[in-house]
């Protein structure tokens, strides 16, 4: 056996040697880590620690909720910058095939992708043997109604409200994610060899007259390309900047909305909306968040009370908290 066992010792390191066989003792190190005795804090969830938490959370959340709610409801008077949205409902911008149907390389100004869009764009990849720019179903289905807002003043002559086209997209989208194909020539030249999406009226380089807002970096386009999470969504359309501190941006009065109707939604029972909103520190009007906070705060408070009652009734057993897992 001896041979067997010695060799095993070498290999295995496991079976013990006869005492004195090795000079080095195999006693395990006495470190806190190895002995699983690391200094530790053992939080024990007892009524004493948990109950105050509930009340404190309740006390914090309810005021926040009220604050949010009030703020949200106060977004009424159209002061400050006004945001103009269009809303679509029952429009599945989050459909998988739809979401995929774009070529980010092309949109980022990659010249090869411009002329040879990704396969993901099928069947909106090529039209009449020319690559579509921008390719894909998302771009193809871009919202193309035009909304114009007029203030019908006292003189019953409608004053057009200046709607700012820029500043509605994420800065990172506008400046980083979306880029026109590089080149010194005119935008049209740069898009040469491509064709417009099937449903579009104009090619991409004719989306706007402003060269900074034309082509792929057109903000309407960018906003549309940032697909919505849900079938009912709203997208920023225009900004109405406040002109002076003294006057409201949109003073009270009758307004006239002129819609150039291009976009069909009837087939899928869609609805179009136009929303005007100001925003506060926490974004636009959002009553739900406030309500949610108030609710959570109340729930917390309620739970605290329930716990208090239960704990009071069964107080004696709470000292075994450390054992329950």
């Amino acid at each position: 056996m001896a041979m067997n066992y010695n060799s095993k010792d070498e290999v295995d390191g496991g079976p013990p040697c006869p005492p004195g066989g090795t000079a080095k003792t195999r006693r395990p190190d006495n470190t806190a880590f190895k002995q699983q005795r690391l200094p530790a804090w053992q939080p024990i969830l007892t009524a004493g620690t948990v109950l105050p938490t509930f009340f404190i959370i309740g006390l914090i959340f309810i005021p926040i909720g009220i604050g949010i709610f009030v703020t949200s409801n106060n977004i009424r008077e159209i002061e400050g910058n006004v945001f103009m949205y269009y809303g679509l409902s029952n429009f599945y911008q989050n459909h998988r095939r739809y979401v995929k149907s774009r070529d980010d390389s092309q949109l980022n100004g990659d010249s090869s992708a411009l002329l040879n869009p990704s396969k993901e764009c099928e069947p909106y990849r090529r039209n009449e043997d020319k690559p579509i720019a921008p390719c894909g179903a998302i771009a193809n289905s871009m919202f193309n109604d035009t909304l114009e807002l007029f203030l019908i003043g006292n003189d019953s002559y409608p004053t057009p409200i200046t709607l700012k086209k820029k500043g509605i997209a994420w800065w990172t989208d506008k400046n980083i994610k979306f880029r026109n194909p590089s080149g010194a020539e005119s935008l049209e030249e740069r898009f040469k060899g491509t064709t417009k999406p099937v449903n579009w009226l104009n090619p991409v380089y004719m989306l706007d007259s402003d060269p900074d807002n034309n082509g792929f970096v057109n903000e309407d386009f960018i906003v549309w390309m940032r697909t919505a999470a849900l079938p009912t969504f709203r997208k920023l359309y225009r900004l109405i900047e406040r002109k002076s501190d003294l006057h409201p941006t949109l003073p009270a009065g009758r307004y006239y909305l002129n819609i150039t109707y291009n976009y069909p939604v009837h087939s899928f029972d869609g609805r179009k909306r136009m929303i005007l909103s100001t925003i506060s520190w926490m974004g636009g009007k959002n009553p739900f968040l406030g309500i949610a906070y108030i609710a959570i705060g109340s729930i917390s408070f309620l739970l605290g009370v329930v716990l208090l009652v239960i704990n009071h009734k069964y107080r004696n057993s709470s000292n075994t908290a450390d054992i329950t897992i």
């Binding site: 190190d29 739809y98 990172t172 079938p231 969504f233 968040l289 329930v306 057993s317």
Partner: protein, 1454 residues
Amino acid sequence: MGDTGGRRGAQRGRKAQPGRAGKYELRPKGPAGMGSLSHGEDFQDGNENTAFTWDVKANNQAYNWQFKEKVFLCWHRQKYKTNVIRTAKYNFFSFLPWNLYEQFHHVSNVYFLLIIILQGIPEISTLPWFTLFAPLVCLIVIRATRDLVDDIGRHRSDRAINSRPCQVLVGKSFVWQEWKNLCVGDVIRLSKDSIVPADLLLLASTEPSSLCYVETADIDGETNLKFRQALMVTHQELTSTRKMASFQGRVTCEEPNSRMHQFVGCLEWNGKMYPLDIGNLLLRGCKIRNTDTCYGMVIYAGCPSVTCGLPIPSWCRAGSPAPARVPAAPSPAHPPPHAAPQIFLLLVVMSTALAMSFGLWMREFKDRHHYLWILYQGGVALESFFIFWAFLILLSAMVPLAMFIMAEFIYLGNSIFINWDQEMYYAPLDVPAKARSTSLNDQLGQVEYIFSDKTGTLTQNILTFKKCCIDGHVYGPDSESRTPKGNPYLWNQFADGKLRFHNEKLLRIVRAKRDKVVREFWRALAICHTVMVQEKDSERPDLPVYQAASPDEEALVTAARNFGYVFLSRTQDTITLMELGEERVYQVLAMMDFNSTRKRMSVLVRNPEGTICLYTKGADTVILERLHRKHSAKLSTEEALAAFAKETLRTLCLAYKEVDEATYKRWHQRHQEASVLLQNRAQALQEVYNKMEQNLKLLGATAIEDRLQDGVPDTIKYLKKASIKIWVLTGDKQETAVNIGFACQLLSDNIHILEEKEIVHILEACSKCSSNPLTKKGFPKFPPHIKLAMVIDGDFLDKLLLSLRKEPRALIQNVEADDSRQEPWEAVRDFLRARGLSMLWQNFGVQQTPTKSKDSKTRESPEVQRERAFVDLASRCQAVICCRVTPKQKALIVALVKKYHQVVTLAIGDGANDVNMIKTADIGVGLAGQEGMQAVQNSDFALGQFCFLQRLLLVHGRWSYMRVCKFLRYFIYKTLAITMTQIWFAFYNGFSAQPLYEGWFLALFNLLYTTLPCLYVGLFEQDVSAQQSLQMPKLYVAGLKGELFNYWVFLQAIAHGTATSLVNFFMTLWISWDTAGPCSFSDYQSFVVVVALSGLLCITMEVILIVKYWTVLFVVAIVLSLSFYGVMTYVTQSYGLYQISPKTFSFLYADHNMLSCPSTMLVILSNVTLNTLPVLALRMICQTLKKPYPKEEAEEEAPTEEIFTVEPIPHLHRGSCGRRSSYAFSHYEGYADLITQGTILQRPQEVSSELESDSPVTSEEELLLRPNSSCWHFRKLSLGRLRHHQGEVSFEEMKPSSAMSSSSSVDRQSAVNSDNQGSPTKKLPAAMNRASGSFQKLQMVKKRPLSPKQRPPLPENLLSTKEGSVPLPKERALPKKHQLSLPESQPQPSATKPLPLGQTLWGSQTESSEEKLSPVSTSVPLGESQPYISPKEPHASKEGTVVETLPGTEESSL
């Protein structure tokens, strides 16, 4: 298994030596021939394939190398390989392909690969390619690394084995060479205790007739010695190295195969042919024992050797770190996979449902949504089919791939913590605890049954003389302070100084020589025994070295020796003592041997003065009733005995009387007559003995302590409190076992001990009830407050375990390790089928189990019912003690419990005899250092001491279980919390399988963002500290009940996860509905960011809440995880990567934009709060409402602990017995005969001295190992085995009626017992081989002359026994037994024994009065209605044949 080799050896020996005489042991087929099936196959195979195509010529390499074998087309290679073994799986080049190939045998890996491939199909690709690819690659790399490390270990061990030295004959002399250089045809020399390097043909050995003893434990686990023998021709011719060198024999034989019990070959030498069989062969891996030197010729070398087809012997895979066992299938992540199929099923169902929903929506999309319709070209069915796969891919993240790998880490980590635990380090042997298997940690927390060996495990196997009572005076050890420094026995030149017993007063009295009783007391100890004096110790040549049949005797004789009554030597009829310096020779007139019926032994001597004295020692119950009527010290001695019993010391009473010459003459006459009787001689002798042993004078009593290991009673107490049932399985005698049971507080006086008879009654009652399906569980109702214990022995078990032995394969299948990696999902099926269900997942099998048991109930045979009833009964007992069980029975008992109760079993043992048990149990624990390394090598956990078991189970086991459970629960929660949102999202995107999360988030979520806290939970979590765990064993019960992880918990986790995902998704959705402005997250990417971050934070919050042990590590883990999120999000959403691949990193600055808005933060905060608060409150409520843990322990247990001080509660059925006899003596009869016949007094004649002179290698190992391979476990092995062959005969009529009349409980108990075992036949001096092999040799030589009448049966008979391993009553076997045991007697005719008695209820006839009272037993007709004890016809016919072994074999198997 245990028998095949031995039988084979015996058979072989008989064939070779027809003239061999001696005592034959009747050997019916061993119980549960674990190997018997395979054995049978061997025969069949062997008969088919006997072509001798293997041709080896000794000392002629040129000849041997000429053989080529065709490998492929025209590529030939050497037929005979060198002796190199390779257990390593891979080499440098094969590692990568082969390992990958193996890894993709995992269903889960294949599944994920499939998913990844599916993702490549654009139609259904929902997730980016890397989302699943990254985790899979990580997983594969980690596993490959682990395999690589393992394999490097194997390479190393291969190298170690291949470079072992052995002596090879080169030219004219033997030179040392490495194993790997051996070739077929080489002649090699092996010395004692070396391992056979290749399959050898034994040519010669230094033993007589070229016998060679081998131990095959490494091959088949059998620990008994077997012998091999060289051919007579080689034995006679090859007597020197020179002759060896010129040996030109040519062996032709069969090709290497895996039949290790079969070998057919032929030796051609000098023109003559000699047949060879397995008996001439030394198999690789055997160990040479008790043989100085032997010579062999290599026949098979390297891996095609015979043994290589077998499950690789343990030495062969020495390097593999964990012993393979199926419940612990190499992948330690075996519990988690069982959730996988369920999750997968769920996944398929959900995918189907979602795909169907998509189908319904499809029409609308196609018809109405103009912007979508062109995207769908296919039909509804086709697109739905695609969507099904798309969802399958999308939801595949639900199958927790990472869980498997993390579980592996967790198991490994917990094992390492076990190795590191200082509290389990045993300093005296320098043994730390070692988790050899890394996959059983959680089961350690659920152990319900512990099967423990006794000797060496519970006890130290050191018997010390502790107290004595002489003439009514108790002499205990002096208190420490009064113990003089130095050895008080220095005056005595024969004192060995090992005696720990110091009593100055007694010593003074002894040295004064005045007290006659004291003198006779020590004289009795020095005379009345069967101890042998061995050759002189090399250090102290003047000192005798004792070889005792039992350690008790040795302790007693040693005590006498230290007190000046030195037993110097004995011859056949004299005993020489040195009494306080005076040498006295006593003439032995008669030795009346010990046996368990008589419970005493006496020696009748004539002292030098000519007086005839009878010295008797024995059980108190037996001696006290044989005393002379008037005895003054009797009362005080009884008191002393009672006191000793309370201390659980083993007691013996000593008595003597002087016999006058005339009485002796008369008695001698009768003795002579009795001893030549042909029939019933043993009985007659016993009567004669009994005549003499009357009217004794009490000398006193001795108390020997069988020292328990440190902390054993405490450990057992705590383990019992943890609701763990402890069974002691021992080869020892019943009295010894029961005594130990009391000593370690397994038994106490208020426990009702069920004995065999009662058990039979109960089982019968039960079987009646169960035959009537209406009344379930027909146990006699024991009042719950009565604590039960059970004491049974091996014979009883034999009768009980019938059905189990019929299907030994099923039982052993988890012992036979199959190395193929068990795949999780396949494993489930196998698991449920093969019972090895990890208890964690036991509850998943809940549905299967009842149905299974239901239909099995209808079909189940009476034996099975019986077994089930027995196990049910035994499981209600506080303690079960099985004595006189063989190693195989130990394994069977474990298997029995495993078969009928779905519980985790743990077996702990220290010796080779425990290996079977250790391998059979779910968890095997080996104690290091006591009886060699075999137990450790086959174990899953190696410990230094029994008491470490407490910490291993209560602390590490519980922690591991708790950690794994918490981990699993948390992991399932977190997976669902993240992935379920995908489903909710599907309702809002037209079931188009649009993924909700960014690919990178999904990919890294399980890898980086949540891994560390998970690992922390699995590795470091402590709900209570180690100390509390130890102090509150009740906490362990949670593991037994599977409280921490079961279906309920699993559902809770699922519900919790679902709730979290619902809250996160819908809260975000509702809030985002109306948002506007730059911070609006109504767009997809922002929405995703909010949901993902909410989910991640909820999950982190949850782990913060569930972790009860906050260390710096945890904080680091949390912080790191969140920073990983920050960093990785920043990286994957950076412009640099976006430029490289916009599609892969499409979420450019999404997080950045969202998180810069305060409103987003508010949303996330509300999500997390809403998720956490109710859960927290719910937990608080549950916790408050939950009943507090009972704190009764200390108070409740106090009285039972102090049980000895309290007035003992009378035994329930014993009634009358007030004092418990603590008589225990681990001694078997037969030694006196050996002495009186002079058998073991003769020294063997050394044969082949020439060979020995060559260069006997004196191995140091031998010295080292001698204590390890002590006889005791051998003895247990063999005697247990011997016993059940004899036990079927009832010997009531031989039993002295006086023995039966005792009213003492123990007496009755042993009387019942003795019906089974009180065979008058002589048993072989099992323990005698402690003295080294010399005794064996001796007997081999001595028993040579054999009368033809006693020749064992022909081999044909043997063949027919291969199936029938059931030891049923053997009518024909029995008389033969008699005949054989009394060599000088004539064979008796068959059927002299009243057989029917032997078949009836186990020995219950003696209690006939009780029998009549019991309606059960009287109403049951003997025979047929008791199927499991009545012999069945087919069996009986088989049983009729007898298997004998030569005495030599039998002894060596002892």
